[in-house]
């Protein structure tokens, strides 16, 4: 079942002199199996938006439908929050700072236990989730989360959400603060989680070049509204408007645009590095230059994940 958001508006400190509008009549539909990238500068409303999808913020006006769970401003009927939170998994920024239990396995089992599973079941799920994020539960399960390295901690935190088996996984800047190698690993991990457990993935990102490599749709927020929600090929024709709200075009798109100005047409459907590389190979062959194929542009090769 998809996510349907209709006319969602929200203001912080509503009814006080400090009232601040965060969302203004947002309409969004997300179908199953999509990889959504959400962009927008700080204060554009994107965080407020995703917190609504998890029921962390009460709807003030408008309505939300997530996998059949209906959220409105009405007090009754009370939505089934337990079900909602096991449907929508939410990984916050710097999630490693939210680890708290004495051992890794207990921490990861926290979510499943809250869902009402027995201790055995919860631990089994935790072990499974740890394996999914590429950690060996037998090796680190009994260790204290605080002794792990930064990258491991972040994986444990993600496992804590995965253990609830969400159909929709939302991550708020999952690569923030990591080095490029760590970023690459976390992004490949997210792709694998999408394949293996959570078919719908929503990622907030600030890095155009990074997100376009993975997402199949971008939603751009600005001033509490959805500024852009269209296929990426269309979106990147609005370079100036994007710049006006503080977003740059991906470097591959601006390279293709600049080449077009110099009379070299690589096609107007380039949205990421892979697309650009393939277009260059195609153009070279058209000009009689021999070259091999490029499957995807990667730096670390396959050992990244």
């Amino acid at each position: 079942m998809p996510i349907v958001v209709k006319g969602l508006s929200f203001a912080y400190s509503k009814g006080t002199p400090f009232e601040k509008k965060a969302l203004d009549c947002v309409d969004v539909e997300i179908s199953d199996g999509q990889f959504i990238g959400i962009m927008g500068h700080t204060g554009s409303g994107k965080s407020t938006f995703i917190q609504h999808l998890n029921g962390l913020i009460k709807v003030q006006s408008g309505e939300i439908d997530v996998d059949g769970i209906h959220l409105t401003s009405a007090r009754r009927p009370k939505p089934d929050y337990k079900k909602l939170r096991s449907t929508v998994g939410m990984v916050f920024q710097y999630p490693e700072y939210q680890l708290f239990d004495e051992t890794v396995i207990k921490d990861v089992a926290f979510g499943p236990k809250n869902l009402g599973l027995s201790k055995e079941e919860a631990f089994a799920r935790a072990a499974e989730a740890l394996r999914l994020v590429g950690l060996d539960p037998d090796e680190i399960g009994e260790r204290a989360p605080f002794e792990l390295s930064g990258g491991q901690k972040r994986r444990v935190a993600i496992a804590g959400v995965i253990a609830m088996r969400p159909k929709i996984l939302i991550l708020d800047e999952p690569t923030a603060g990591l080095d490029p190698y760590g970023k690459e690993q976390i992004m490949s991990l997210i792709c694998r989680l999408k394949r293996e457990c959570s078919p719908t993935v929503i990622v907030i990102s600030h890095d155009m070049d990074e997100i376009t490599r993975y997402a199949d749709r971008l939603i751009v927020f600005s001033e509490g509204r959805v500024a852009f929600d269209m296929p990426m090929q269309e979106l990147f024709k609005h370079g100036q408007e994007l710049e006006a709200i503080g977003l740059e075009l991906p470097s591959c798109v601006s390279i293709a645009d600049n080449l077009r100005l110099k009379g070299i047409e690589l096609g107007d459907d380039i949205v990421n590095m892979d697309g650009l590389a393939k277009a260059v190979v195609k153009a070279a062959r058209e000009r009689g230059i021999e070259c091999g194929d490029i499957a995807s542009v990667r730096w670390y090769g396959e050992e990244g994940e």
């Binding site: 400190s13 006080t16 400090f18 917190q51 998890n54 962390l56 337990k82 939170r85 096991s86 929508v88 998994g89 939410m90 916050f92 920024q93 999630p95 700072y97 939210q98 680890l99 708290f100 239990d101 926290f110 979510g111 809250n114 869902l115 605080f146 804590g160 959400v161 609830m164």
Partner: protein, 288 residues
């Protein structure tokens, strides 16, 4: 509104906001003491008028000042009722039932106690309404300066206060974030008995404390990098200056305090005179 730690600051510009914070702190302390010497309804009325005038000069709606009582309303009712029924002094009882009795003296005492508490809260609130957290710490630091002589590190205390003020909103924000994160993992903070609820808070408190220690660690490096403790004679950029408006404020406040004490010890309560005056006027009109 978390930009101000005490959540009370009323961010407008006014002559009262610009008053020397030291003066405002001293005034507030004196005000609290003075309140215990107020003996007549006239004096209470004068103080109320003073507070309303203060609201006017500081561009704060009087309703905001009255709202400050909301927090103590239960205490207020409780103490007044107790005072009303269990007044200990000599009484001319007018109503009695079991151990409860009411007398004019009890009514008078309860009423005055209530007025005293209300005015006390409203008056002290005006300090936090008109003085920012930083100004308050600056003022306190400046007032405590003499303690340097007996080797109390006033400047260090001031920096600790300043850092605490700076980190309160950050930690509140952090608490919000962690609470949300744990809620999204199905944590339930709202049900169960008190022990269950306390236990439910651990997933929030532990990361919060770990985070606070990490912050403290990094902050220590930042302080060192900026030469904390480099020189025994530290200087201050901010100099609190005493302006003409401070002098005027001083005179007005002194007059108020003087009135309260004169009223109590010389006049012996202006109420009787006012009642007499009232009677004379009534007689005068009757005579017509």
């Amino acid at each position: 509104m978390r930009d101000v730690a005490f959540g009370q600051y009323y961010p407008v510009s006014s002559p009262i906001h610009r008053l020397d914070p030291r003066l405002k702190i001293v005034f507030t302390l004196l005000y609290v003491v003075t309140m215990f010497f107020v003996s007549s309804y006239t004096a209470y009325a004068v103080i109320l008028i003073f507070l309303l005038a203060l609201c006017g000069f500081s561009h704060i709606p009087p309703s905001a000042m009255f709202k400050s009582i909301k927090g103590i309303i239960i205490l207020l009712i409780l103490t007044s009722v107790l005072n009303l029924f269990f007044y200990g002094g000599e009484t001319s009882v007018v109503w009695q039932w079991w151990i409860f009795k009411i007398s004019p003296e009890a009514i008078d005492s309860a009423l005055k106690l209530m007025l005293r508490l209300i005015l006390l809260i409203m008056g002290t609130t005006m300090l936090t309404f008109t003085t920012g957290a930083t100004e308050l710490t600056d003022g306190i630091e400046s007032l405590l300066k003499p303690l340097n002589l007996i080797k109390i590190p006033v400047r260090d205390l001031a920096i600790i206060m300043s850092i605490a003020l700076r980190f309160i909103p950050i930690l509140i924000d952090e608490t919000d974030k962690i609470t949300m994160a744990q809620k999204s993992r199905g944590a339930d903070f709202d049900s169960g008995n008190i022990f269950k609820r306390a236990k439910a808070l651990l997933p929030v408190l532990i990361p919060l404390f770990v985070g606070a220690f990490r912050k403290a660690d990094e902050l220590a490096d930042a302080l060192d990098a900026r030469c904390y403790n480099a020189s025994p004679k530290r200087t201050r950029m901010k100099k609190i200056t005493f302006a003409v408006r401070d002098l005027i404020a001083l005179i007005v406040f002194a007059a108020l305090v003087a009135f309260v004490f004169l009223d109590k010890y010389l006049i012996g309560g202006a109420d009787t005179y006012i009642v007499k005056l009232f009677n004379i006027i009534v007689e005068f009109f009757k005579g017509l």
